[in-house]
């Protein structure tokens, strides 16, 4: 079988398609930063342990350092550059700004993408490791500070802005719920 060490891929990023040839060893993270100049996504540990490189792939938060670019062909990728609607910041971005959910800012894009995922996962009724009763007949867990800390534990912040990060996620989640309820009413 003929083998090759690079391929052409089409990366669908923030609604825009980019076709490029990638060495198979290229991670999605490196393709975003080094090939497409989308440097909002940050490289921290490059081992899947810090969460700085978190993006949304097909709507789900993913560490882009362990995702090969070639395996991301035709998947829908959202980076921190794509979460706002024009000039209107995403509720999670606004909450991080208003509540000082960062100090140096390096982990912030990953924190924001992860928080967007957390809010959606919680709204879908997913339990977490600190949910007392995971059975589907139990009431869905409220998004308490304890739940937020557990669900955000894949994102490290070396400055230690955790207290404000947790508050920002809580406020953004509450706003998202209100918007959803208003839309339904």
């Amino acid at each position: 079988m003929a083998s090759s060490t690079s391929s052409s891929v089409t990366l669908n990023i923030n609604g825009e398609k980019h076709t490029l040839s990638v060495d198979h060893r290229t991670t999605l993270l490196d393709a975003l930063r080094e090939r497409l100049d989308l440097t909002g996504t940050k490289k921290g540990c490059d081992q899947g342990q810090c969460g700085a490189c978190t993006v949304l792939v097909d709507g789900r938060r993913t560490v882009s350092c362990l995702q090969l670019a070639v395996a991301s062909d035709e998947r829908e990728i959202t980076t921190v550059e794509g979460v706002a609607e024009g000039d209107r910041l995403h509720p999670v971005q606004q909450a991080f700004l208003d509540l000082d959910g960062f100090q140096c800012g390096y982990c912030t894009p990953g924190q924001i993408c992860s928080a967007i995922g957390v809010i959606e996962e919680h709204a879908a009724g997913w339990p977490s490791a600190v949910t007392e009763d995971v059975r589907p007949e139990a009431a869905p867990p409220p998004l308490t500070p304890e739940e937020i800390k557990e669900r955000m534990s894949g994102n490290l912040c070396r400055c230690g802005a955790y207290v404000q990060i947790a508050e920002a996620v809580a406020r953004a989640a509450a706003e998202t719920r209100t918007e959803t309820e208003e839309a339904a009413a």
Binding site: G48, G51, R61, V70, A71, V134, S153, G154, N155
Partner: protein
């Protein structure tokens, strides 16, 4: 990282054919462990066969009342599945106790079973390791081993299996399905992982080139009253230093049925059959729960720096079984 060929498989026979008999080829699932190991050079595949797009991403009821979990179901989807949460809650708890939200969105059930140990000597190419380089020795036996095995290990390797999911699957008698060029096959999880012996580099009984296609949970009524408890060095996002998956059916103060498996104490998820034998028919009291734990841990052979695990596991068994017994009494 070594350069490699990449192929995406559309169906199961195609995936098996693409891998062929090439010992230098690997299936790629979520990549959360394999890609990491490729970066450090522990894994140096010449070809990856991407199996994420295979139609193996469903959880379906079986004819006998169990559930069949496809190999590419993500950890997240497994944990969130209402049938799993209702009938095997310890499995949901085990999955949610592992890794982070991001990694659970990527990682697959098949890959979870085949993930490699996080032993620091295995992942450090400058060190000997019988699992990575057969015959080179095991520095952990006389070195850093506070989180290594106390059950079923050998002088050749004392590494532990890192899976949480596998502990619950082992407690509930899960069966692994696989496909090969010669046709499909099945392995009960109890026989899936090989004993360590003097061949720690041979980890599973899967035939060469086999692709895991799914994991089947038989109907286990007692599993509806089950719990997974994990002890680790920080509150979240860390591997276990000890864990327990337990299920208990109590009526009239007597244990009618029990399932018990341990994590982070052996080279594989450890089914505690000796403990289960003590529990069945015994009064549901802390005294008997401790006796059950002792029966299992009598075989423990701790190293100088991991003897705490024996005490930890005993206390963990008593605590989790006591909680389940209290729930049953309510």
């Amino acid at each position: 990282m070594r350069e490699f060929d990449y192929r995406r498989a559309d169906d199961v026979p195609g995936a098996v054919a693409l891998l062929g008999a090439d010992p230098e080829a690997r299936y790629l699932g979520g990549g959360t462990n394999l890609v990491d190991l490729m970066k450090t050079g522990v894994e140096r595949p010449a070809r990856l066969v991407d199996v994420r797009a295979l139609p193996l991403n469903r959880i379906e009821p079986t004819d006998d009342g169990g559930l069949r979990i496809g190999a590419t179901v993500t950890n997240s989807d497994l944990a969130a599945h209402s049938g799993i949460r209702h009938r095997y809650p310890a499995l949901t708890q085990a999955v949610l106790a592992g890794a982070s939200g991001q990694l659970r969105n990527m990682a697959t059930v098949g890959g979870n079973l085949l993930q490699r140990t996080r032993c620091g000597y295995f992942t450090d190419l400058t060190q000997p390791c019988n699992k990575r380089a057969p015959g080179s020795g095991c520095p952990a036996v006389r070195g850093e081993h506070h989180n290594h095995a106390v059950l079923g290990a050998s002088d050749h390797c004392v590494a532990v299996h890192p899976s949480d999911m596998g502990v619950a699957l082992t407690a509930f008698d899960a069966v692994v399905s696989y496909e090969t060029a010669d046709g499909p096959g099945e392995l009960p999880l109890a026989g899936f992982y090989l004993p360590v012996g003097d061949t720690p580099h041979r980890e599973t009984a899967l035939p060469p080139g086999a692709l895991i296609t799914g994991v089947t949970l038989p109907p286990v009524p007692v599993a509806a009253r089950s719990r997974y408890r994990k002890v680790r060095e920080r509150a979240s996002y860390a591997f276990a230093i000890g864990s327990v998956a337990a299920a208990l059916d109590v009526s009239g103060g007597v244990v009618r049925d029990a399932r018990l498996a341990f994590g982070a104490v052996a080279s594989r998820p450890w089914r505690a059959h000796a403990a289960e034998r003590v529990l069945t028919g015994a009064p549901a009291t802390a005294e008997y729960f401790a006796a059950a734990a002792d029966a299992e841990l009598a075989a423990a052979r701790p190293l100088p720096d991991n003897g705490y695990k024996v005490t930890l596991m005993r206390n963990l068994v008593v605590a989790v079984l006591s909680e389940l017994a209290e729930e049953a009494a309510r």
